[in-house]
């Protein structure tokens, strides 16, 4: 196994690291939340309070997990007092952050697959329990639309991952006081992303026509330009984070 792969594997371990007691309870909480979520969803479905849009747009919020996962991977180096070991490694800061980026992306893929399975399960339940509203959405349509949604999410998650890393590093430099500005910029970025990619038709009544089940996924030029811009921005933020880590972060 190469050095980079070993670093990635270690960073995946850091991302999911919990103490034993918390790991035990987190499993209990996770399964309880699944059961409660299923019961609540069923009640809302039967009383017609849940719409297909909710299921369509929900995966977009997964993007937030990529931000917080990457931020946590770096913060845990400081909190766990392993940062001295991490930063003495004789590899470029880009390589160290590249490993964390890769680990964050792999973790995100895992979460995305779980969310996809849950989304499909909710769709199937909707079609069974409320066929009058959900009958327009056959499996092929749902799969295609969810697929498009996930392609957009996966294309955007690098930007969120590097943003999380940058924020975590910023906390350990003399530039820490500008962190609140970072949150403002981050809020702006998120609203821009949602308005560009996901939100253009959210106010449309889904019942009027089945085509609005997925609230306004961008297509064509807007999508391609948006994704390319997000890649460029992600690259620039990554370079800046590596620069901060090398030149300004202190232990």
């Amino acid at each position: 196994m190469s050095t980079f792969s070993k670093l990635v594997m270690n960073d995946i371990g850091i991302a999911k690291n919990r103490n034993r007691q918390f790991a035990y309870w987190s499993k209990i909480y996770f399964f309880t939340a699944i059961i409660c979520g299923f019961i609540i969803y069923t009640v809302l479905l039967l009383t017609s309070q849940v719409t297909p849009e909710v299921i369509g747009i929900a995966p977009a919020f997964l993007l937030f997990t990529s931000f917080f996962t990457s931020m946590a991977m770096i913060i845990r180096e400081w909190k766990g007092n392993t940062v001295g070991w991490w930063l003495q490694l004789p590899y470029s800061r880009k390589m160290l952050l590249g490993a964390k980026f890769t680990a964050g992306f792999i973790r995100f893929l895992r979460v995305a697959v779980i969310a996809l399975v849950i989304s499909l399960a909710f769709w199937i339940e909707g079609m069974i329990l409320k066929p009058s509203i959900w009958k327009h959405y056959d499996v092929g349509y749902v799969t295609t639309e969810l697929g498009k949604m996930y392609i957009e999410i996966l294309a955007l998650c690098p930007l969120l991952i590097v943003s999380g890393m940058l924020f975590a590093i910023l906390r350990h430099t003399k530039f820490r006081p500008v962190s609140p500005l970072f949150w403002v910029a981050y809020g702006g970025l998120i609203s821009l992303m949602f308005s560009t990619f996901f939100n253009s038709k959210t106010n449309t009544d889904f019942r009027s026509t089945w085509t609005f089940a997925f609230p306004g996924l961008s297509t064509g030029t807007t999508l391609i330009v948006g994704i390319l811009l997000s890649f460029v921005l992600a690259y620039l933020i990554f370079q800046f984070a590596a620069f901060l880590l090398e030149k300004h972060a202190e232990v």
Binding site: N17, T82, Q88, L89, P90, E250, V251
Partner: protein, 231 residues
């Protein structure tokens, strides 16, 4: 004798507090040097600066004739003060990780040290005692074939038996005399026998430095020299 570490007019401030103050220091290659001094003397900051974990405000550092750099860290094994290790590792996976990421890591030597320090190879780090974790981290440092080994407070908060094991580990690692070792510690009594040279720091500058044998001839133990200097 060649110089392993040299600082010239080194200064580091945290805000208005000067932690290292125009420090001129020479550490000889191939010797075991003790870095002693009270809390706040600047020992840990100096050691961090050697591996690039803090950046000096002015002055210069030279390690084997080179400026500290990421690349040069492949020649240095550094045990940070109050460091932790990845809690999800077992002792075995920690050694495997070290073998992959630390240049010069000698796996057979590390396994031998694990046996000597009576660590269970399959135990998770989170289940090890504080002393056992310290022993593991020491192994991760000492099992590397590097020119410079820096140990910052390796005995801090460690029980007597673990301390003796750590000292034994250090003694065995310096037997061949090829590496330079810098040890910062408050545990002077236990570690005195390890040192060939000693540097006493106070408020970021050298208060006294010299050969341990020479200091002993002038006074008595390092502990007494320490008391005299800082009382």
């Amino acid at each position: 004798m060649n110089t392993a570490v040299e600082t010239i007019k080194l200064t580091k401030r945290y805000g208005s507090k000067i932690v290292i103050d125009n420090l001129d220091l020479n550490i000889e290659e191939g010797k075991v040097t003790g870095l002693l001094g009270p809390n706040g003397a600047g020992k840990s900051t100096l050691l961090k600066a050697l591996v690039g974990l803090v950046r000096p405000d002015s002055g210069s550092i030279s390690i084997f004739g080179q400026k500290p750099s990421i690349k040069l860290n492949s020649e240095i094994a550094y045990l940070p003060d109050r460091a932790g290790w990845y809690q999800f590792h077992t002792v075995k996976t920690a050694l495997e990780y070290a073998k992959s990421v630390f240049p010069g890591f000698d796996e057979p030597k590390s396994e031998e040290m694990v046996k000597q320090m009576k660590l269970d190879i399959d135990m998770k780090v989170e289940t090890l005692s504080k002393g056992q974790q310290a022993c593991l981290q020491l192994i991760l440092c000492l099992a590397r074939n590097v020119r410079l080994c820096i140990l910052d407070e390796p005995f801090s908060g460690i029980d007597l038996i673990s301390r003796e094991r750590i000292i034994q580990g250090i003694i065995e690692s310096i037997m061949d005399g090829s590496r330079t070792l810098i040890i910062s510690t408050h545990e002077i009594y236990e570690s005195e026998s390890l040192f060939e040279k000693v540097v006493f720091l106070e408020e970021g500058h050298v208060k006294l430095a010299g050969e341990v044998e020479e200091l002993r001839r002038q006074g008595d133990s390092l502990e007494n020299v320490y008391r005299r200097l800082y009382r």
